[in-house]
Amino acid sequence: MANTKKTNKEPLFHIVKRDNMSWPKRLLIYAIAIIIGFLITSVFCAVSNEKGKGVWDMFISVYKGSFGTERKIWIFLQELALLLGVSLAILPSFKMKFWNLGANGQVLISCLACYACMYYGDKAGASPNFIIPLMIICSISAGVIWAVIPAIFKALFKTNESLFTLMMNYLAVGLVSVFITIWFPKGSGSVKPINTIVLPDIYKKQVLTLIVVSVLTVFMTLYLKMSKQGFEVSLVGESENTARYVGINVKKVVIRTLILSGIICGIIGLLLVGSINHSVNENMANNRGFTAIMTAWLAKFNPLAMILTCGLITFISNGMSQVRMDFGFYNNALSNIILGVIYFFIIGCDFFITYKIVFRKKAKKQKKEVN
């Protein structure tokens, strides 16, 4: 056949799986990827802005946007804490390979529950000492309910959890608009903040959130590393059958882990409404549920490394608002583009960490060495 010659020729390169790569090398690859991603986006910004800004100006603006003033640093810390909180919530479920895409909905529904307590408490003139515990209970249970329904069906019938949790997101958004029309029937859609019944501020508004999320981070690290339950979670994620053979009740683990996820989402919702915003709207989860998936994945499901990844993502997204102002882009979608491009590069890193490319010449040399 005419083709034989062609097929016999060794391909230009082929892919081989690597042995474990050392941490410094991995970090270097990630750093290079992030820098390339940043460079591409900054070139894009430099080319398309009309204010004559150059390539390096974007870095300055991003830095200014995140750390420029004391207020901005506090906001950075607050956003970092919230994102980290949601990442912690989805962490155990993802470690279990349960695709919980519904953290947005779980946070939002607990925001709604929390605001409902504040609204009716304010209306009835109840004392905050009575309402605040109620807020805590209601928002946590709302988060748990939203997380555990897909988990139960996943455990019993293997219902596709990623789409189920996604639909629960939209249900939560829909329910918020339903209740807004009930509470504020004029159709204006704006929600009155309730400032009489709120969680107490410690020194500054953001400090309570920071403390709570720090405690959660420590708890989650210990839970996954030290506890038997944490071990069960990672075992179910590695291989469901192995878990079953050693006598783990997989259904119980799935449901229990999602209850934990729901509790943490509930706490974040409570903080968002009770401590930070004092009101509720459909966008309150601010897509943190999806962003958290990326941060948890990038940190390879390590709670402490998540502080870094959440910091990076928050740094970019907070910084982008400054870039928009400095560069004259009047569109808040810009940060999603930048984040998307940087995600692509970081996801691509996985390839270079797990595989290596062997070229034709090198392969021949290796063969000679073997001989």
């Binding site: 081989v16 799986k17 019938f157 596709n160 639909m167 339903v178 984040l339």
Partner: protein
């Protein structure tokens, strides 16, 4: 009633394009959660093509050229982003779900920014009228004409694509190969099928078809107006859910998409209800989707299973 049906069939086209694209991709064993974002990017491409063409001909568009331009641009833009997904998941073996979510983030952001900033929307109205124009005698045929003949060409195109995809998957050799790859890529590889090539083509074509859905939504369904990309993203997620509803069969998608669309627009078609009732009705498509998800998983018979290798990347040297 008729207006509800007509509206449903029209909107169903968005779901239909999206779900056919996702079915083709999933048959190759790739769960593409980037479809919502890809549909957005298809919108951006279609809108760009239309605006460039309308500018060139000063608003006097010829029917066939406009359709071609919208089709080609939407398909090409969506396929390019599908190419990023394919590169990352097929060649670089990255996690499919994570890559898909990143594509969705990027696609929605890109489209919002791109259309807001770069696309001239002055002629969208006129273009939409041309694209959604139906047969001239349709209105003379009473209810029959209204229900079956009153749509723009893309509605029929979507149905044709659905039927063609069913034929391709079930009756042709290439379709058989594609299904084999989705079920067990190692076996397909051993049988001499070029797995990588099939996967790339399936993902690119699937993404391109899905992209048409977003373009159709803006250019035909809502008549050339533009607000935001998040609506298209939501429709995209419903299209992904529709794949399960239609049990990975494109011809079932035709009926499924009409049912989905019907629930979706019910809230806007019923008059004389309060804001609260309307907001409640808008929850319907999501509730129905959840019920369908549960029902298909509870029934769980052999005919309604996803491709066996769905979501798993294939690396030849790994068993």
């Amino acid at each position: 009633m008729t207006s509800l049906l007509v509206g449903s069939i029209s909107l169903a086209t968005v779901f239909l394009f999206g779900s056919i694209g996702e079915i083709i991709t999933e048959k190759a064993g790739h769960l593409n959660l980037g479809i919502p974002g890809i549909m957005c990017v298809g919108t951006a491409g279609g809108c760009l093509g239309v605006s460039l063409y309308m500018e060139m001909c000063n608003g006097n568009a010829s029917w066939i050229l406009l359709i071609l331009v919208a089709l080609v641009f939407a398909f090409a833009f969506a396929a390019i982003v599908g190419g990023i997904y394919a590169l990352l998941t097929v060649s670089m073996h990255c996690n499919q779900n994570i890559t898909g979510l990143a594509i969705t983030t990027f696609g929605a952001g890109f489209t919002q920014f791109f259309i807001d900033t770069y696309v001239d929307r002055t002629h969208f109205d006129a273009a939409s009228k041309v694209l959604s124009s139906s047969l001239p005698f349709a209105s003379n045929l009473g209810w029959f004409g209204e229900v079956f003949l009153s749509y723009g060409i893309f509605v029929y195109f979507a149905i044709a694509v659905a039927i063609a995809t069913t034929y391709f998957l079930n009756k042709t050799r290439a379709g058989l190969h594609l299904r084999a790859i989705g079920e067990n890529p190692a076996t397909a590889d051993a049988a001499g099928i070029n797995v990588t090539l099939y996967k790339y083509v399936a993902i690119l074509v699937g993404s391109g078809i899905a992209g048409l859905g977003g373009m159709f939504y803006i250019m035909d369904y809502i008549g050339g107006s533009w607000e935001n990309a998040s609506t298209i993203e939501a429709l995209g997620w419903l299209s992904v859910a529709l794949v399960i509803f239609s049990m990975w069969k494109p011809h079932f998608s035709i009926i499924g998409s009409i049912i989905f669309a019907c629930f979706y627009i019910l809230a806007f078609k019923i008059t004389g209800i309060t804001f609260t009732q309307m907001a409640l009705l808008k929850l319907l498509p999501y509730v129905i989707t959840i019920i369908v998800l549960i029902a298909t998983s509870v029934i769980g018979s052999k005919g309604v299973q996803p491709p066996a290798a769905l979501g798993l990347n294939y690396f030849r040297e790994e068993r």
